[in-house]
Symmetry: C2
Subunit: 261 residues, 2 copies
Amino acid sequence: MGAEGHADGTVGKALDVLDMVAGHDRPVRFSDLLAQAAYPKATLYRLLQTLTSQGMLVLDPDQGTYALGVRLVRLAHAAWAQSSLAPIARPYLDELAERTGETIHLAQMDLGQVLYVDKRNAARPVEMFAQAGKVGPAYCTGVGKAMLAFMQPEALDQALARQSFLRHTDQTLDTPQKLRAELQAIRARGHAFDREEHEQGIICCAVPILTRSGRVIGALSVTSTTARTTLEALEGAAGQTKDIAAKIAAEAESWRFPEQT
Amino acid sequence: MGAEGHADGTVGKALDVLDMVAGHDRPVRFSDLLAQAAYPKATLYRLLQTLTSQGMLVLDPDQGTYALGVRLVRLAHAAWAQSSLAPIARPYLDELAERTGETIHLAQMDLGQVLYVDKRNAARPVEMFAQAGKVGPAYCTGVGKAMLAFMQPEALDQALARQSFLRHTDQTLDTPQKLRAELQAIRARGHAFDREEHEQGIICCAVPILTRSGRVIGALSVTSTTARTTLEALEGAAGQTKDIAAKIAAEAESWRFPEQT
DNA sequence: CCGGTTGGTTCCATTATTTGAAACTTAGTC
DNA sequence: GACTAAGTTTCAAATAATGGAACCAACCGG
């Protein structure tokens, strides 16, 4: 992992460091970060100091390790409630999960990556934050392609530039060209398929969540396995998935309005 | 709210802006932020731009409003799992809730404020993220005082400087002097009480969660109402609460170790 | 007890970034 | 069509970030 890169300005670098700390799943020592980071010792040191004094990181003085700070948890609460579609979409996901009996994913685009913000698993009820927060590639997942297909040209270019195009399975679309062709088909069709492009045996049918003005704000997918069903069967649910997506979009838009100053 | 202030460097300012956006619970327009912020137009503008291009904020181009970005949600996921005591403490909270039959809070200190990271309510099982993320004052809550009492002098000074000392009820300790005296008693006793200092009728008994080296990493409280029980009765649970706190601390410490580079 | 490492912190002159008043664009309004 | 509000851009001055190198403190192995 690592290899961030796109850091404009000091803020960008600081956030980059933040991501780096977040990347490890345990508290990290200064030297670990130094080894991984592209910044010189003193710079990294001051960055860490700033972030720590800001409460974004916590320095464990006993061991000299850095971990993500509680301020992030607080921000997260707000982010969850405000930015993500999850709170709005929750009841609709429940509905869709019940109607299809399959696994449902709600995702949003995060700088070229797919961020799963909520999930329903036919069987066990969600454990919200454990499931959400996962990130995945855009170019080889149903939700990712559904979102890419409806992005603005410049945003799409940016996003494509961030794809690795690693070949996960035989079906993976492993070049921008193949992907662009597929995206066109998706735009025409209105929904995307995952033909075991990410994981062998896993298929899905995904639809974008679009505002009235046509902006993508997320995607919804119905996922299953080749053992259980077929793409054609999943496509049968595309209609109702689109309906649900439309409802979520509508609510998301009305939610953003009121603003009585 | 608002009135942040302590912003060293550009990064501090950027994070300040982030908090500002998080403070509103709906997407905010540029001008709203401008009115609230201490920064000149152009500066705020560029800060917002940076944060947006970094994915920490999202600009809704239809309406020109800013909202917290998904990158934050991703970071939050990591922060939750890594920094907060919540995942470690979960089973212990369950245990304590069951044994006491009262409401349990798990909190951590966030720059002088108390951040509730998890909660058990005898009746309904937790809805994790909805409950957590709430912040409260430190000077007039059980968990707050329990943590303050065991902080290092300098950290304590910093934290006290951030308290408002607003008088919420007749019992509220409304000066640093009164609070310092109380903190000494808490240190001696090993646990803190909330004698209806924050909300009328709400009482609690709280204990700090300390590392072996004596650093505070959080606090645990058993909360109830004057209608249901008394402080004395709650104090009866102090022993087992301390045991639980010790277990959480131990696990938190061992968790932070391994680090085979 | 000492010279050598490793891991972390601080200095400080140089450099690059941020700053913010003011000018400029839009897009509404009357 | 002038007037206003909201957002965006410019540019020289000011400030903050930079990073090489020096420094400090533990911790070795001898």
